[in-house]
Symmetry: C2
Subunit: 231 residues, 2 copies
DNA sequence: TTCGGGGAAGTCATCGGATGGCTTGCGGTG
DNA sequence: CACCGCAAGCCATCCGATGACTTCCCCGAA
């Protein structure tokens, strides 16, 4: 195994074993390199890799630290990964949303605090009739983000956010806007909110399913056309 | 932004834009470094990072290639990330399994091929009464893996595999073995299989939920005791 | 002709050292 | 007590050199 990979494993082991707690500071590059038995250059490759997936946080002029390692932070990487997928697999991601979002919505209807529910409604209200495309995307993102967070499960929340990153969402919204489906979508958002506010998990679950399934079907048809056009 | 991060973004852009197709070979280190305007060392850090998350595949003496970028490959990283989480969040991961596995099991009951269903049954049959702990873990992993794959959604499959990595599973099994819950668990596996073989998605969904929820409750109690013991 | 060995070319792996930039904290000054 | 500047500590980046591994081609033997 390459020295660098070995270093990655060793650093990972130090963290998992508890030797390096979240937030802890690593020895300086030179020392750690010597301890792990490799050059600073190679160590830097390892640190950079762990830094990309948010396990380490390098601050120039200060030092290298272990991040909080919370699900939110680590699963943040998911968004980065999803960006690499093209249209061909977008449907599978949307299918995942159809599984995850209803579950999160139902959970949110049960455990979300009244204040958070109020804030959720405010998000919907904040969108005027003259909203731009970017506004729509941002608002949509914020709405679903709050619901996901309201589920009380950080892993679920991060998964949803990662799988339906801005990239994917932007593309879908662009299409929906062109088809004039915006009012329709906004009505569904409202219905989801009402179900949550009314503390009706089953209804919330159903509306969320309907919402995502609608998107899914629309995308399926669109991709189908595009596919045949390409063929 | 550091040069290395910039390089990561540029390489990512080259891939997303289609300039670098899956399987394509990158220019050699020296050339790419010059093209991106940085040193070989810095470029190597970028490549190493992208290599860790399975976007690039570096083969010594040969060259650097873009991977297939399939969901299976990219979401493989998830397992690596999950390893960093400790007991405190294991429950959240299990809660995710309780959402994902039933969905996958139901889907499998619909679309799995007859051959795959037969093979799935063979997995259960292959486990003798004198199986060791490692056998149990491996068999359990294989059983659930095949079901996840049988859902027909590669993203869902990878997500399940990533979230219930060997690490987490091993710990749970160790505990279950001590409590003599093995026969019970194996009966549930059998019931899940029967439901899939009988093409009854609702039943399969229910059994999978029961199965994971049982684990979840057991773990919740176990952690609760451990937690109070620590306090 | 076919098979296999050997060597050359190409590419990554790793290292050591040197320089520059950023952050932090100490100490001096008003 | 507040502010400013300097020095130390640490990461950022680069250069150049050597070693190791793959691949592929060429040549000789069967």
């Amino acid at each position: 195994m390459p020295v660098t990979d070995e270093a990655i494993e060793k650093i990972k082991a130090m963290i998992v074993s508890g030797e390096l707690q979240p937030g802890a500071r690593l020895p300086k590059e030179a020392d750690l390199a010597e301890r792990l038995g490799l050059s600073r250059n190679s160590l830097r490759e390892a640190v950079k890799a762990l830094s990309l997936i948010r396990v380490l946080d390098v601050r120039q002029g200060d030092g290298t630290y272990v991040t909080s390692l919370s699900p939110e932070v680590l699963l943040d990487t998911l968004g980065f990964l999803v960006d690499f997928h093209q249209d061909s697999t977008v449907l599978e991601f949307l299918e995942m949303r159809r599984i995850l979002e209803p579950a999160a919505t139902a959970m949110a209807a049960r455990v979300m605090s009244d204040e958070d529910v109020t804030a959720l409604g405010a998000v919907l209200d904040s969108l005027g009739e003259d909203a731009t495309l970017d506004d729509l995307i941002a608002n949509d993102l914020e709405f679903h983000r709050r619901i996901a967070a309201g589920s009380g499960n950080a892993v679920l929340c991060s998964l949803i956010e990662g799988l339906s990153g801005p990239t994917v969402r932007a593309r879908i919204w662009r299409g929906l806007t062109e088809e004039g489906a915006v009012p329709h979508t906004r009505q569904q958002h409202r219905a989801i909110f009402e179900a949550i506010a009314g503390r009706r998990p089953e209804v919330a679950h159903a509306w969320a399913t309907v919402h995502v399934a609608g998107l899914e079907q629309w995308l399926r048809e669109t991709l189908g056309e595009a596919g045949s056009a390409l063929a």
